[in-house]
């Protein structure tokens, strides 16, 4: 089991460019979560999917950020017109049931470090 795979590990974009981050969850897991981590804000929830359906995107900035899960083997987080304040480590996690059962563990990927110049 390779765990949650995130690509790329590092991405540098210029202000105004688009960035697409990829996540491959653990095979058999039904839920995928996206978090953002910065020194100032810590870990912030962005959005999550269960069985490929968007369940909660309450943490997503309403403009410029979008997430998709076209199939059960990958999810993407797209940031349009990137800004310096978008610089952060973007973490993807997956879990077996996505909260449908009482006790559950999230498994995190290594993250994508996005730097917007």
């Amino acid at each position: 089991n390779a765990g949650v795979i995130q690509t790329p590990r590092h991405k540098v974009t210029g202000k105004g460019q688009e960035a697409t981050l990829w996540c491959e969850p653990i095979s058999g897991h039904s839920a995928v979560f996206w978090y953002r981590q910065t020194i100032v804000q810590g870990l912030e929830f962005l959005t999550y999917f269960r069985n490929q359906a968007p369940i909660d995107d309450s943490g997503m900035p309403k403009e410029r950020f979008s997430a998709q899960m076209p199939n059960q083997s990958h999810s993407t987080l797209k940031i349009q017109s990137t800004q310096p304040q978008d610089s952060a480590v973007y973490l993807c996690a997956s879990s077996l049931w996505g909260g449908a059962r009482a006790a559950e563990t999230l498994y995190f990927g290594s993250g994508t470090r996005l730097t917007v110049l």
């Binding site: 979560f33 929830f45 999550y48 909660d56 996690a93 006790a103 559950e104 563990t105 995190f108 290594s110």
Partner: protein, 111 residues
């Protein structure tokens, strides 16, 4: 919304000493998890402990749900224990389920 407060923010120990990390949360948590993040590394789940006491290896977590607090005790600390320890609670409402994280305790174990 729910909040998670961790203390201390940082802790420096000599190898072999014990560490005690605290987590306080703003409302009753149905689940509480402790995570470890190595410098520049990914998050790894250590323990899931919504109530009572749980042990795994040198780690002991005690959660008192009605007092909205949890602790993580690391016995006989090792230099490889250095990193950030994060407490997270589950926020579940209206079909949603997500973890709310504290800001972490940065542990440094000196040889």
């Amino acid at each position: 919304g729910q909040q998670v407060q961790q203390s201390p923010a940082s802790l420096v120990l000599q190898e072999g000493e014990n560490a005690e990390l605290q987590c306080n949360f703003s409302s009753t948590a149905t689940q509480l998890q402790w995570f470890y993040q190595s410098p520049g590394g990914s998050l790894v789940s250590l323990l899931s402990n919504p109530s009572g006491t749980k042990h795994t290896g040198r780690l002991t977590s005690t959660t008192v749900t009605k007092e909205r607090r949890s602790s993580l005790h690391i016995s006989s600390s090792q230099t490889t224990d250095s990193g950030t320890y994060l407490c997270a609670i589950v926020a579940a409402s209206s079909g949603s389920w997500q973890l709310i994280f504290g800001s972490g305790t940065q542990l440094t174990v000196m040889p």
